[in-house]
């Protein structure tokens, strides 16, 4: 059976996806990281530290909450929210950052860098860098700096240096290019904490494993509550780390349906979206082969999404593989659908979700009403929406009497 769990292979491949498409300068380091990570996986002391920080510092386990009012509202499936927004720093991102910073320490690295889109990964990285006393540089697109101001301020408070990236569209992809450039230049002392299940091997597998705590907990919690596994799992997909984290521990349970929700922007047909699987083709970028938004000449095209954390023209390679295998269903939600679901969640549950997360909720709005109450649906509430107040005010301001910028 084990058809999905033993990947990637030794070369970092999930089928034909993944790999290590990086400059030679980085190769020795990437191979070293792979060895260190493999050792850490089997090192009880590393695992003990990881568990300690996940518990007392991050606040795990996060609750699996039965969203009674949301369930009533949609009038179908029973909806459970995996409350990753309650983690320290307000999103799932820190699960991975804690793991990587422990590795950085172990490898004797003296400096941390990261890219960020919504700023949640940047904040989580700046947080663990502060906690472990390491200087930290965060690359963030100029467009994203504009639309995620609260997170920019948080990162500065935490002592990180923010480098605005103006190349390209000034979003996540450009921030990642710039972080990679920093990395090859400072390869000796710097650890690059990639924020999602993308990049060269071993990152996609390593980030997935650090995030898999989400799915492992969900499994235990659902069995405690309902005595059985959930029927479906729903998560938004930017690079795909919160989705992989929830899905992976269920990947060989064929009865558990999995749905990944890409950012549909103004609609996949409009061309203005960030849906790499639903609207892209295979290619090679940022160290791995995966589905990308690109033109026929292999030039990467701009992604469009109301949510900075999903505004990326690629997706983690394991998702590309699961998509082609048909194990996970990938759909998309538009900006407007996400905004609508965002408001429903605020009003029905008193939880302000991140705009990224609102894409998952938009799919719940479509799917839950068609299903019976016995259907147990888990949604990854990947982050909280405080950071999105400015964007949402901009889009919904009139309705609430808030002056638009």
């Amino acid at each position: 059976m084990n058809q999905f769990v033993n990947l990637p292979d030794a070369n970092g491949l999930f089928g034909s996806f993944g790999g290590r498409f990086v400059a030679e300068t980085l190769m020795p380091l990437i191979l070293e990281l792979q060895d260190e990570y493999t050792a850490a996986k089997n090192d009880p002391e590393f695992q003990r530290q990881l568990a300690y920080f996940q518990g007392d510092y991050v606040g795990r386990p996060s609750p699996l909450y039965f969203a009674e009012r949301l369930t009533e509202h949609f009038g179908g499936a029973s909806i459970y929210l995996k409350r990753e927004e309650l983690n320290h720093t307000g999103a799932h991102k820190i699960n991975n950052c804690i793991g990587q910073v422990l590795l950085a320490k172990q490898m004797g690295k003296k400096r941390i860098i990261a890219e960020t889109g919504a700023g949640m990964h940047g904040v989580a990285t700046a947080t663990v860098a502060a906690r472990f006393g390491l200087p930290c540089v965060i690359y963030m697109g100029a467009t994203d700096i504009e639309r995620q101001q609260p997170n920019v301020f948080r990162m500065k408070l935490l002592g990180a240096e923010i480098v605005p990236v103006t190349s390209g569209t000034g979003t996540l992809k450009d921030a990642m290019n710039e972080a990679l450039r920093d990395w090859v230049t400072n390869v000796d002392d710097t650890f690059y904490i990639i924020g999602t299940v993308a990049g060269p091997h071993p990152y996609p597998a390593m980030v997935r494993d650090f995030q898999a705590v989400i799915g492992h907990e969900t499994r235990t919690q659902m069995i405690e509550k309902q005595g059985r596994l959930p029927d479906s799992l729903v998560a938004c997909v930017g690079g795909g780390s919160n989705a992989m984290g929830l899905f992976y521990p269920f990947i060989n349970d064929p009865a558990v349906k999995m749905i990944g929700v890409e950012a549909g922007g103004k609609g996949v047909k409009s061309g203005l979206h960030a849906a790499s699987l639903n609207g892209g083709t295979p290619g090679v970028l940022h160290g791995n082969r995966t589905y990308l938004l690109q033109n026929e000449d292999g030039q990467i095209t701009d992604a469009h999404s109301i949510s900075a954390g999903l505004d990326y023209p690629g997706i983690g390679p394991e998702h590309a593989w699961l998509y082609e295998q048909g194990r996970v269903e990938y759909v998309s939600a538009t900006d407007d659908e996400a905004l609508e679901a965002f408001q429903i969640c605020c009003r029905q549950e008193g939880i302000i979700p991140a705009l990224e997360t609102a894409h998952a909720l938009a799919e719940v709005a479509k799917r839950a009403p068609t299903l019976p109450r016995e259907h147990l649906m888990v949604v990854n509430l990947s982050g909280r929406g405080d950071k999105d107040m400015m964007s949402v005010a901009h889009h919904l301001g009139d309705k609430f009497g808030v002056k638009n910028r």
């Binding site: 290590r20 400059a23 300068t25 980085l26 190769m27 020795p28 450039r181 090679v284 690109q294 000449d297």
Partner: protein, 278 residues
């Protein structure tokens, strides 16, 4: 056994006891016509081997100068097909100067590897430098290229240690490109002493000629490094000439002007050092 253009070029330079001058320009920068004029004038200005960049939207290993060059080229409508066509038309007039295409894998992958290699061989391309294809991915392009008689030029870097070197040299052909500093193109200048020992070290493991690039901007630097390497590569400094020019004519004049200076210095560099040694 037939020799390749690159082999003939390096053999001739060995006779003359001087290093090769390798220029880098991005195809289609600043526009198709100016780029064509730039390319066609390079051998006359003194370039021995031409590196022609295939523009990519996300040049992760390049600094600002070459990033901007790629953007200018793409905004001007440059495509893989147009780059191959540029080389084909260059070959109608010049059948001796080796041309190596340099860039990233994705535009080749999307063009289709087999189709690309067929068209590249037909156009008269001698080698490929693909920054994001380490030896771990040799089956993607390196091995297929060999079947089409196209050299796959491998990068060795300051981080390539003794353990990794055999892997890097394994399927290498044409020449070895030693990246002088860990970093992106257009970055800081390398220190000649460290470089010289790195090149000497490399020579013990390969018979292939060794080119040095990254951070070489001036005739002096080219001369210093040309004393102990088989080729010096100048890229960002040439690309900067294009950025700073106000007109296409000025771009052509400035680029070819700098090439001439560099060419003069690589032609004199070993003579000067011999004299010093005496």
């Amino acid at each position: 056994m037939t020799t390749t253009r690159l082999e003939r070029c390096f053999a001739a330079l060995k006779q003359q006891n001087r290093p090769a001058l390798v220029s880098y320009l991005t195809a289609g920068d600043p526009d198709a016509e100016t780029s064509r004029r730039l390319l066609h004038g390079l051998p006359e200005a003194g370039v021995d081997i031409i590196e022609l960049g295939m523009p990519f939207s996300d040049p992760m290993a390049d600094g600002p100068a070459i990033q901007k060059a790629a953007l200018r080229a793409l905004e001007g409508g440059q495509t893989q097909a147009k780059t191959l066509e540029m080389v084909r038309s260059f070959r109608e007039q010049n059948s001796t100067t080796p041309i190596v295409l340099m860039g990233y894998y994705n535009p080749i992958y999307c063009y289709g590897v087999e189709r690309f290699l067929t068209d590249a061989a037909k156009a008269g391309i001698d080698g490929l430098i693909v920054v994001d294809l380490p030896p771990e991915h040799d089956e993607e392009l390196c091995q297929p290229a060999a079947k089409h008689g196209i050299d796959f030029i491998r990068l060795a870097t300051p981080t390539t240690d003794a353990k990794r070197l055999p892997k890097v040299l394994g399927n290498a052909s044409g020449f070895i490109y030693y990246v002088s500093v860990a970093g992106v193109t257009g970055g800081s200048a390398p220190t000649p002493e460290r470089l010289e020992s790195a090149v000497r070290e490399l020579r013990e493991h390969t018979e292939l000629p060794i080119a040095v690039g990254f951070g070489i901007r001036t005739a002096e630097q080219a001369a210093t490094i040309g004393r102990f390497s088989d080729a010096v590569v100048v890229g960002s400094a040439l690309v900067d000439c294009i950025e700073h020019a106000n007109t296409p004519d000025e771009a052509v004049e400035r680029v070819h002007g700098l090439v001439s200076e560099l060419a003069e210095s690589v032609r004199a560099c070993r003579k000067a050092s011999e004299r010093q040694a005496c």
